[in-house]
Amino acid sequence: MGLRAFIITRIILTIPTLLLLLSMVFIIMRVLPGDPVSLHFEKKADPELMDSMRRQLGLDKPLWMQYIDYIGGLVDIGYFMQHGYPNLGKSMQTFEDVGGQIFSAFPATLELAIYSMMIASILGILLGVLASKSYNSVLDHLIRSFGTITYAIPVFFLGIVLQLIFGVYLRWLPTGLRLDPKIEPPATVTGLYTVDSLLEGNIFKFFESLKALILPSLTLGIILSGIFVRLTRINMLETLRLDFVTAARARGLRESTITYGYALRNAFLPILTMMGLQFAMLLGGAILTETTFSWPGLGRYIVQRISFRDYTAIQGAVVMFGLFVTIVSLVVDILYAYFDPRIRL
């Protein structure tokens, strides 16, 4: 089977996974808690008002019909073409389209996620390789401790400490928001400020938005790098003990060829898989990071909606997170097949 056939198969296989995921969100968000409208009003509202709201949101229908509405809205291509975002229902608080709100908040989260992932993987893989090469030495113990300790730090605590040092005391970096409110954001093309400002050719805006990104992405990146360090280290250690590495040494190959061409090249495959799974964890951390840094992304959106008990909005955001994770795992699987000749039989 060639790589192309594999990609097609993998994309086809994504559909049932996605359906399962959406159904699970529906069960958790809609079936388990009971009646969202009375939850929203904490049972204190006028029953008639609550009834009309149920009707408006279609919550008076039987569950299976609500399920069909829910899935149907997501696959409604016509709606998507017209609005530029899928139909995720209307907010219980503002009665606006949840899809629109989510799509405008999403790029902020995406930008934060991309930069954090870059920091985490570069830092993590570098330190992990270094530790494995100096197994059981002082350096190895130090790096291992770094990996273990970062895992145990709540992401928002690190965020607050960094804010305290670089924002409050040193005043080097902004402690919140994507861009100084006095600066006009760049015209939306991708929604990522660093990319859009470059597309606009505005270096000043690029550096300003990059400056705002430093603390949040560093916070999230450092926390996540711990897992990458531990993962890279352990996979490198295991791979360095394999027969083909010893055989390569016995052939007198250079140590750099052995470290990178033999050990890391093979250890990278399980690391890649974990990278995909860690993306999910990164998104969870993003919620807390966004709250810490007043970052106007999907995470802060969800947290704000929680205080209003805006169930449709929360459900929409959860669906969005789910879609994102599914796409990431699809990409990771395809990359895996690309890097591992054994997959393509």
């Binding site: 010893t246 055989a247 016995a250 007198g252 061409g261 093979n266």
Partner: protein, 324 residues
């Protein structure tokens, strides 16, 4: 000058349960183009001995004493850079399990080209590929398969490739550690035949390490019998077969079934191999030896020259050590 000269080699493994002396006081030499067998059961130190000859003893093992001279150079004293130039170029190694000895994400051709260009940086890529193709032909593999990955080959084929990688740079010595143990008997015979054919063509010396004394008797000029890190006996194959001196060698020969004999009576060596963290004092073999005397418990026997180029580490043949 012999090609390889090993003198009083000692290799230790420091572990949390104490130090294991995996190889102690091993001395032997090997002439150019000759075939030496190293026999031993699990824990005898035969693999550690083999790996120490290219200074690749696995972590946490270290060579703590003795010298290993290849063409007169003591490799124990070489820098990491210098020893790398010897590995693969002058001394090549073939490992037990062909299924795991090749890099799964690299093409077969790349393995060869990488090796050739590491040791002969002036060779062009085209030249290296050309040499690889002709080598594959010698190994009985279609040269078209140069771009295939290891997983596309069977175990026997992969061991052929490993042999090819070992002889690609025409080394003076090839060390093969249980090269056919993971393979079926027919493939095993064919691989060993191939190795012998190529060895003759290239005029290399060979060290064959195996737990199977039959293979060594069949294919080697001289044999070392290892037990619990010690060299127990060292002789010509024929001499060893007809005239085994050490009680351990005698026991071993009596426990190997021979398909050509009718109604063969096999016997075993009583007891079991020692715990290497806590080996017996004196001769390592005395708890299993029917000839053991008090002397054997107290002192370690020296290597005794019994004539006819035959050495044995046992008090049955005297008290005085030989000068090798």
């Amino acid at each position: 000058m012999p090609l390889l000269e090993v003198n009083s080699l000692r290799v230790d493994y420091p572990t949390s349960r104490g130090t294991v002396h995996a190889v102690e006081n091993v001395s032997f030499s090997l002439e150019k183009g000759k075939k030496l067998g190293i026999a031993g059961e699990s824990g005898s130190g035969k693999s550690t001995l083999g790996l120490s000859l290219i200074r690749l003893v696995p972590h946490p093992g270290i060579i703590v004493g003795g010298c290993i001279k290849i063409d007169g150079t003591d490799i124990v004293k070489l820098s990491n850079h210098e020893i790398r130039a010897i590995r693969g170029k002058k001394v090549a190694y073939i490992f037990q399990d062909p299924m795991t000895s090749l890099n799964p994400v690299k093409r077969i051709g790349t393995h060869f080209v990488e090796l050739i260009r590491t040791h002969e940086p002036t060779t062009t890529k085209e030249e290296a590929f050309k040499r690889t193709r002709s080598m594959l032909k010698n190994l009985g593999i279609l040269p078209e398969r140069i771009n295939d990955y290891p997983h596309q080959f069977s175990g026997g084929m992969r061991q052929r490739i490993m042999i090819g990688l070992a002889i690609a740079l025409n080394p003076a010595l090839v060390i093969a550690d249980e090269p056919t143990t993971a393979l079926d008997v027919i493939v095993q015979a064919k691989i060993l035949d191939l190795l012998e054919d190529l060895r003759k063509v290239y005029g290399m010396a060979l060290i064959l390490i195996s737990h199977d004394l039959s293979i060594l008797l069949e294919r080697c000029d001289k044999i070392i019998v290892m037990y619990a890190g010690h060299m127990m006996e060292y002789a010509n194959s024929t001499e060893l077969y007809k005239n085994p001196k050490h009680p351990y060698t005698q026991g071993l020969l009596q426990s190997i079934p021979n398909i050509e004999l009718e109604d063969q009576k096999l016997s075993a060596i009583p007891g079991s191999p020692p715990d290497m963290h806590n080996p017996p004092k004196g001769c390592r073999f005395w708890p299993r030896c029917s000839y053991a005397t008090e002397n054997c418990h107290l002192k370690e026997p020296p290597l005794i020259d019994v004539g006819n180029d035959h050495f044995v580490r046992c008090f049955l043949y005297g008290e005085k050590g030989a000068q090798q």
